[in-house]
């Protein structure tokens, strides 16, 4: 929605700049005047919350990088040095590690909002796909970041996950050596993970810019899924949504601060306070909670299918689970966007949510006993949801009648 810009430079200096680099015009058009549906609920605040998370991680991360040493004999101690000696280091480090968890909590809410309200549907397919790309890049960033403290989980998590690349036929083993920079996870791996961990967040920032650009072409979706029809449906982004987003962000900071100041290690694993030891494998190798669902999918394929061995099968399933997200706009063809008007879809959606939480839980359990079967069922449902249920629903579902417009749907709801 690149409307005709109404920005008028206030003084000579502003006009001079506007003629050369219309940054102020751009900011006003996209961050202040941008017409936004007036019925957005709080699930829509998580985009701004995510930007805040990215900024927090980059700022604390750059600070940590001033004191961290990416060398296998020194890394663990350098992180402790930050906690013990650097001014404010204990809190800065805690904010960064808790921040990673909060980042994922927010991104899962953001993604599930998109899944429920059909934000991935035309004409927002590219917006959605950029989002999936951001999500995958975030996972890579977090994975590499977790290796840096060089604890037992850092090392063994790196070993297990880099190992999956050896599953690829023919090029697997050379590829594994290429990624690790050696025959095992060692100093070469740590150094390059540090470099890439510093780089990737800026790639994410660039993707976020594209993400918002792609959003501003069609404009925001809204809880009814009915497109904006006139200016009666919208309000200016500033001050309505700037202040609402800011409020939500402050509320978000409350559990963030709770964890960072009072329970900084509760989301982590005690074994990561043991220095990495290539001779001793921890009893249970567990990734951080936010990677658990995908870890479950990877582990669940413990059987061979034709010429594909179980290890490769797991890798295909894990990457497949992300690809299926990418192609979602072409799987769900229902012309109705919002789950609010899709009664059948709602049941399967909430089952998907429960299923995803179950996948997370299972990832932390040993791959034994009844967990093995349940994991397979949950993985099956994950894929069935995208590949079978949504396409079928598109055809057979009888949606509820949609409101004529956004403003009609909120009639009589003025708060005085």
């Amino acid at each position: 929605m690149s409307e005709h810009s109404t920005y008028q430079p206030g003084n000579g200096a502003e006009k001079w700049l506007d003629d050369r680099l219309p940054a102020v015009r751009f900011a006003k058009e996209h961050l202040m005047d941008f017409p936004t549906p007036k019925n957005l609920n709080y699930w829509w605040t998580f985009g701004a919350i995510l930007v805040m998370c990215l900024v927090i991680q980059i700022v604390t991360g750059v600070v940590l990088a001033m004191h961290y040493t990416p060398q296998v004999d020194l890394a663990f101690d350098s992180v402790e040095h930050i906690r013990r000696n650097v001014n404010g280091g204990r809190v800065i480090q805690a904010v960064h590690s808790v921040g990673a968890s909060m980042f994922f909590a927010a991104i899962y809410v953001h993604i599930f909002r998109g899944l429920y309200f059909g934000s991935y549907k035309a004409p927002r397919e590219v917006l959605w796909m950029i989002g999936v790309l951001i999500f995958v890049t975030l996972m890579a960033t977090a994975f590499m970041g977790y290796v840096l403290p060089w604890g037992q989980m850092s090392f063994w998590g790196a070993t297990v996950i880099t190992n999956i690349f050896s599953a690829i036929p023919i090029v697997g083993d050379p590829l594994l050596q290429l990624i690790r920079g050696g025959f095992a996870v060692d100093n070469a791996t740590l150094n390059r993970f540090f470099s890439l961990h510093y780089l990737l967040p800026f790639i994410i920032a660039a993707l976020v810019v594209l993400h918002i650009w792609a959003l501003h072409v069609p404009g925001n979706n809204n809880p009814t899924g009915v497109e904006v029809k006139s200016s009666r449906d919208t309000v200016a982004f500033h001050p309505y949504y700037t202040m609402k987003d800011l409020f939500a962000a402050v509320v978000f900071l409350i559990p963030f601060a709770w964890f960072a100041f009072f329970a900084p290690d509760i989301l982590g694993h005690p074994d990561n306070y043991i220095q990495a030891n290539s001779q001793v494998t921890p009893a249970h190798i567990v990734p951080e909670w936010y990677l658990l669902p995908f870890y479950t999918i990877l582990r669940a394929i413990d059987f061979n299918v034709l010429f594909i061995n179980s290890k490769l099968g797991g890798v295909i399933a894990m990457f497949g689970s992300m690809i299926v997200l990418l192609i979602l706009p072409w799987l769900d063809r229902s012309p109705v966007r919002s789950g609010n008007f899709r009664p059948m879809f709602r049941w399967f959606y909430w089952l998907f949510v429960i299923n995803f939480i179950a996948l997370g839980y299972l990832g932390a359990q040993p791959a034994e006993g009844i967990y093995v079967l349940i994991a397979k069922l949950c993985v099956a449902y994950y894929f069935a949801y995208f590949l079978v249920i949504l396409p079928v629903l598109s055809r057979i579902e009888m949606p509820r009648p949609l409101p004529a417009s956004i403003s009609e749907s909120v009639l009589g709801k003025a708060h005085s």
Binding site: Y240, M243, A263, I266, P270, P343, A358, P366, H415
Partner: protein
């Protein structure tokens, strides 16, 4: 249309399938039979937790006289002992203490010199191999972050409650239980590997460390207020565990104090933002 009841039934089945194994197998997930870790009351637990200076001093004495003969604490600096939020020794005391130890220093004559406050606790052994040789092949773990390198796993739903109580004392609960969890004789049917001792909470139950504490082992230096505590194994275990928590988290007190102020600020600010947002949105149908 699928009946609502059917959906609920399906969900209930899924929920049960998850919950039952969770309850039954939670103990198993520790990797062995159900280990009962009795949680203790620690002065530093919870959002208002602080260290008890006297307890830290006693714990330090236990560490120094008993544990440091085998265990290193390479990230503990002598100067930490006089810093705020810790045992509260004076700088003079710390200087005198440090001077009692010989520190390896390649620039010093003979390669060793008396310690200063800036030095870190010297290891009792010159190398890992020496440490193993002196301890039947087992390596006594370093104490620097040991209290954070151990933990307890609670079954559902108790681990959820831990998030709300900000439970971070799993490590010291484990350590206390371990120190007080030795059995004179192993239970029926358990054969002890030579050189090992039966311990209730150690994962394999056979620990290489001999029971390090016993009643009356350490003659506690009397504190300033003349507060005296029983010189029992239980007390030593409590005090040295608290000391280990401080070694692992020396800034715990200032962190929690800052956290309280930050949370108060955020709640206040959220309230103001809430009012601001409502004022701005007044009159808009949404």
């Amino acid at each position: 249309m699928i009946k609502t009841k059917t959906i609920f039934a399906a969900l209930a089945v899924v929920g049960a399938l998850l919950a039952v194994p969770a309850f039954a197998a939670e103990a198993e997930s520790g990797g062995d039979h159900a280990v009962e870790i009795e949680k203790q009351n620690w002065t530093f637990g919870g959002i208002f937790g602080t260290y008890d200076e006297h307890q830290l001093q006693r714990g330090f004495q236990v560490f120094r006289e008993v544990c440091s003969n085998c265990h290193s604490a390479r990230l503990l600096a002598f100067r930490n002992l006089s810093e705020e939020g810790g045992p509260g020794f004076s700088e003079e005391q710390v200087k005198a203490l440090a001077a009692e130890y010989q520190i390896a220093d390649p620039t010093a004559e003979g390669g060793r010199r008396p310690g200063v406050a800036a030095d870190t606790w010297p290891s009792p052994f010159a190398s890992e191999q020496e440490a193993r040789d002196a301890n039947g092949g087992a390596l006594p773990p370093d104490f620097s972050v040991l209290a954070k390198a151990r933990g307890v796993t609670d079954p559902f739903p108790f681990w959820v409650f831990n998030y709300f109580t900000a439970y971070q004392e799993g490590g010291v609960d484990y350590i206390y239980n371990l120190l007080t969890g030795y059995h004179e004789q192993p239970p029926e049917g358990v054969e002890l590997t030579p050189g090992r001792h039966y311990n209730e909470v150690y994962p394999s139950h056979q620990i290489a460390m001999a029971p390090p504490l016993q009643d009356g082992l350490v003659d506690y230096v009397e504190g300033e207020e003349g507060v005296s505590v029983p010189e029992t194994l239980d007390q030593y275990a409590r005090d040295v565990s608290a000391f280990l928590m401080w070694v692992a988290e020396p800034h715990l007190v200032s962190r929690k104090e800052a956290g309280f102020r930050v949370l108060l600020f955020l709640v206040l600010f959220a309230g103001l933002m809430w009012a601001t947002k409502n004022r701005i949105w007044k009159g808009i149908e949404h």
